[in-house]
Symmetry: C2
Subunit: 199 residues, 2 copies
């Protein structure tokens, strides 16, 4: 069995964006595959009682500075989205749908959404903006939006989110290497070490 | 003016203990002094609406594993205190009192309390245990306990805690290099970089 890192993410989490900018390189360096798991962070918060750091104003202000520092360290662009917090229910259902029905376009879709949200700071809640982002990933917006209303897709996102909570998740991004859980883009160095040590 | 790092800490915070194990070496390496600021974390939580991570059970379980990983990385002992959460009001008043009246024993006092709590996992709420810890720092337990009831000492801890909140603190440990704030023992590498860059 090849070594793997499981990546639980929600597009609405800017720290998940930062992790996404780094994880493919870490996986490549360590010869690992990435097991991508779209989950609904709002559902995880509801199930665990955890809250977004921005609900504490002082913490929200600090987090912004902290994310800017990491973006500078990583050498990646980062723009705080003025439409934050983003309701990601439809987006995460879309991710599940694209992963199931168009797996060959899944990584392009992730990239298109993350860049729209955290580089271009777009208002992805605007249907025209969302359609443009989906189209830029080589997908048909009408078809992807229809997928987000499909009972199987809705249920899969719900089941993945519940399973994540059952595994101990309380926030995003969360990574697993084997049974070892790592929370936060600031734990990627531990993820790298765990992947290096993995058989 | 010599370069300095301001260290806001509460004895009851295990991540503040971890930061304390590393900060003197970082200060030495970068030629900086440490400006020690005892504050009451409970007061900071109350003022900002922030909460201890352990109030979310899944987060508390993860934090323990996370702190063990950092202790291993730092090569320092760490034992979760079974009496956690610790009411640190008297201890933090004692820190303020010792810092004012016995500055030459202040660092020994910090070391004695941190080791009692996070290495030996003692029940420091037990007056006999507290007296032993104070004595081990070369201080008189009766005198230090009397200091904790002194209005000037009580007011100084309150004022320092309020000032910390005014400066943006929402948790501990928190460090400042100039006006740049860093929260968490996991940001010590950024503190080191800031000290290296400081004039």
């Amino acid at each position: 069995m090849a070594k793997a890192v499981t990546f639980y993410f929600d597009f609405g989490s800017p720290t998940s964006y930062l992790a996404w900018t780094q994880l493919p390189r870490i996986a490549e360096e360590t010869g690992a595959t990435i097991d991508w798991r779209p989950v609904l962070l709002g559902g995880i918060f509801k199930a665990t009682g955890n809250r977004s750091p921005v609900e504490i104003p002082a913490k929200g202000a600090y987090m912004l500075r902290d994310m800017q520092r990491f973006a500078a360290r990583y050498g990646v662009p980062f723009t705080m989205n003025p439409h934050f917090p983003v309701n990601t229910l439809t987006l995460m259902r879309a991710a599940v749908g694209v992963q199931l029905r168009h797996p060959e376009r899944f990584l392009r879709f992730i990239e298109a959404v993350y860049k729209a949200l955290w580089v271009e700071a777009k208002d992805i809640g605007d249907p025209a903006v969302a359609a443009g982002v989906i189209r830029s990933a080589g997908l048909d917006p009408g078809e992807v939006m229809a997928l987000t209303n499909h009972p199987e897709i809705k249920e899969k996102l719900r089941a993945e989110t519940d399973a994540a909570v059952g595994r101990g998740l309380f926030g995003a991004p969360t990574m697993f290497v084997g049974d070892e859980m790592f929370w936060g883009q600031d734990r990627l160095d531990f993820v790298r070490d765990a992947l290096k040590d993995a058989a």
